[in-house]
Symmetry: C2
Subunit: 129 residues, 2 copies
């Protein structure tokens, strides 16, 4: 398990995702002030070129510098506001999801769906002696 | 800018990404021990159903409990090993990328590509007096 490479790829994925969120923020801002530009940016950004955030920004920079710089600024702001919350949050979400998936599966395996008398069932499955 | 929602969506995206990385780890492990199962898991996981990590795991759990549980375990391990590094790393990567994109653009804008005499150019563009 190459943790170093996984950290690297996860960082790239997360940076690209924040680029996407920054684009959405800018589209939302423009929708009120300048709908045609909002439409243009949304179209430009919907062609699947957002998988690689840096390549997307380079393309955008070549055709519309102002919007590209605006997204850079918002992305930096999002990085400051969002990233510190993620480790604890994702750890908790994964622990909870794992627990739920195991429980759901266990319930299915013993044919115990929507129990109406959990307490009784537990007593029944206790050691009979 | 709804930071709370962006934190939530970023968490979900990151959890799904770690599910994908966990699947890759398990496929790599199986490739040595049990190639047919590695092939089966890789095929099952390549149908675009990995965008939603939880839905993917539920589907897998229904058809192959052992592999699903193995991915749950690896994912939990990855969460512990990887997540804490991400905030600083992604912040630094974004700051560096922003700086580079702005510089590249500035260099293009003033037609200054691959300068052979940076020092001279700087002298030339100084106030002539």
């Amino acid at each position: 398990m190459d943790i170093k490479s996984i950290v690297k790829r996860s960082s790239t994925t997360l940076a690209s995702y924040l680029t996407y969120e920054a684009m959405r923020v800018v589209v939302d801002q423009l929708r009120e002030m300048d709908p045609p530009r909002a439409h243009w940016l949304a179209s430009f950004s919907s062609t699947g070129n957002m998988q690689d955030g840096e390549a997307y920004l380079q393309e955008l920079l070549a055709v519309n510098r102002d919007l590209a710089f605006r997204i850079l600024t918002v992305r930096q702001h999002l990085a400051e506001e969002v990233l510190d919350f993620l480790p604890e949050r994702v750890k908790a979400a994964i622990a909870e999801a794992n627990h739920k998936l195991r429980c759901d599966h266990l319930e299915q395996a013993i044919g115990w769906n929507a129990p109406t008398g959990g307490g009784d069932l537990r007593t029944e499955s206790a050691a009979p002696e």
